[in-house]
């Protein structure tokens, strides 16, 4: 019974919002916009639930785990609560809140991005060791051409590779766009299918 009620809600609101995309009736368009605004509010509430989940998982680790892992969880919980208190009381644009953002979050974010340089090189090498088939070789050859063409090599612009009309520009503008367009169209078709299964009530990720 309760699952049928939830399914009815998903189907009804899904249909109304979907109709609002295609049927040019002011009431439907208005309802679509109102429901989309509601989802923004509910997504923010869901974020609160998510943060509480994060806290609870680490709280439990702190109370059950021994040694190192409980210290890591303690650090996470303390930094979360401290940041929330500082940014909450002083406002997210206060100097102290922005200090945390600038000197804790940004350095770690860009360092993690920088780590990707090494991880991607290792991944490409492992891919070749795993399977040097024509798809992987073409994938890697394209990546190397795009990288070589990105900047002058030892200060030299190689004709046919760099600059306007070069190989790099042609790959980026023609075959890469063509493949990307085909991929996007496929993703679009897949998205329609999975979305319609929810609106039909066949897929119910909100529980049965």
């Amino acid at each position: 019974m309760k699952s049928a009620f939830s399914a009815a809600i998903a189907i009804t609101f899904g249909l109304v919002v979907l109709a609002g995309y295609f049927i040019d009736l002011s009431l439907l368009v208005l309802l679509r916009d109102v429901f989309l605004r509601y989802t923004v509010i509910l997504a923010a509430i869901a974020l609160v639930v998510g943060v509480v989940n994060l806290l609870m998982v680490h709280w439990r680790k702190m109370s059950t785990a021994q040694g190192g892992s409980s210290i890591y969880s303690l650090l996470l919980v303390v930094s979360l609560i401290l940041t929330a208190i500082i940014a909450g009381l002083l406002g997210p644009t206060n100097t102290l809140a922005l200090w945390i953002y600038q000197y804790v979050q940004l350095p770690v974010e860009s360092s993690v991005m920088a780590l990707l340089t090494v991880v991607l090189v290792v991944a490409a090498a492992r891919m070749l060791r795993r399977s040097a088939n024509w798809f992987n070789l073409l994938f890697l050859a394209t990546a190397l051409v795009m990288l070589a063409g990105a900047v002058p090599l030892f200060g030299l612009n190689i004709p046919g590779l760099h600059g306007a009309g070069g190989l790099r520009e042609w790959i980026a503008g023609v075959p890469s766009v063509a493949g990307g367009r085909g991929l996007l169209l496929g993703i679009g078709l897949g998205t329609i299918a999975v979305g319609l299964r929810v609106i039909l009530g066949a897929d119910r990720p909100y529980g049965r």
């Binding site: 979907l18 995309y21 295609f22 049927i23 040019d24 989802t39 509910l42 997504a43 509430i45 869901a46 974020l47 609160v48 639930v49 998510g50 943060v51 989940n53 994060l54 609870m56 998982v57 439990r60 892992s69 890591y72 770690v108 974010e109 993690v112 991005m113 780590l115 990707l116 991880v119 991607l120 290792v122 991944a123 490409a124 492992r126 891919m127 795993r130 992987n136 994938f139 991929l183 169209l185 496929g186 993703i187 679009g188 078709l189 897949g190 998205t191 329609i192 299918a193 999975v194 979305g195 319609l196 299964r197 929810v198 039909l200 897929d203 119910r204 990720p205 909100y206 529980g207 049965r208």
Partner: protein, 249 residues
């Protein structure tokens, strides 16, 4: 005058009608053939290995919002999670799911709870099996790297919206001897998965998960509807191109 709205409505209604017709046909004559996708065969094997080795499977749902194309990828990921949780829940260590968004976190717990209930193991369900490990994309990835290492996962399935940082999750899984499979709606994630995942799912292959992992009539029917519209779009592009060259449009 045909507006994009009317054309879109016709497109969606026809898609819906075809799904229902193919599903009805599929119920009468089950067993529609689909081309072999190795990633899904490998996923089934990975679940078996996880159960035997007593290690757990990990489904990474990404950090996308539940909106637009990202919602589509999230729905696929939740379908994969349902299948993995259902079959691997007989293992000593049940599967875990990580997400980087509040809505996704709640949905991962609901999906796992449903999967446990379906096999009559509701009492073994722990809400912490579906964890929100970080709220921003990069904090999600670093949190996931930590979960992968601590839980000693045997396989990671990346199934949702994520960026090129997905490579870090695959790398962490490989460091502990696990394998990575998966796909995404995002092109950067697909690109890094080609290099770092043992079995990447390219583009639309990722969206076929429901049909390959659970061959119910409606799942297979939606793939057949996708195939129908694939060729409709191809014909539309070819005809449109000829008309464009002739200067008609």
């Amino acid at each position: 005058m045909i507006t994009p709205g009317i054309l879109g409505l016709a497109f969606v209604l026809l898609f819906l009608a075809l799904m229902l017709v193919f599903a009805a046909m599929g119920r009468r004559r089950p067993g529609g053939n689909l081309r072999v996708l190795r990633a899904y065969q490998r996923l089934t094997q990975a679940i078996g290995i996880a159960v035997e080795s007593g290690r757990c499977m990990h489904v990474s749902l990404g950090s996308g919002e539940f909106n637009g194309l990202q919602a589509g990828a999230a729905l696929v990921g939740l379908g994969v999670l349902e299948r993995v949780a259902r079959t691997a829940s007989i293992s000593d260590k049940p599967s875990i799911a990580t997400s980087g968004d509040g809505t996704l976190g709640i949905l991962s717990q609901d999906t796992m709870s449903t999967a446990f209930a379906a096999i009559g193991a509701s009492n073994q369900f722990d809400p912490n099996l579906g964890q929100v490990v970080g709220i921003t994309p990069l904090s999600y990835v670093t949190g996931t790297v930590q979960v992968v290492s601590s839980e000693q996962v045997s396989a990671t399935v990346i199934a949702g919206h994520i960026g090129s940082e997905a490579a870090l999750i695959a790398d962490a899984t490989s460091q502990i001897g696990g394998i990575t499979l998966g796909g995404s709606d995002s092109l950067p994630a697909q690109a890094v998965l080609v290099a770092s995942a043992q079995e990447p799912l390219l583009g639309e292959e990722f969206y076929a998960a429901a049909a390959y992992l659970n061959s119910s009539a409606i799942n297979t029917a939606s793939l057949r509807a996708q195939d129908f519209f694939r060729w409709t779009l191809i014909v539309a592009m070819l005809v449109g191109a000829v008309l464009k060259i002739l200067g008609v449009v």
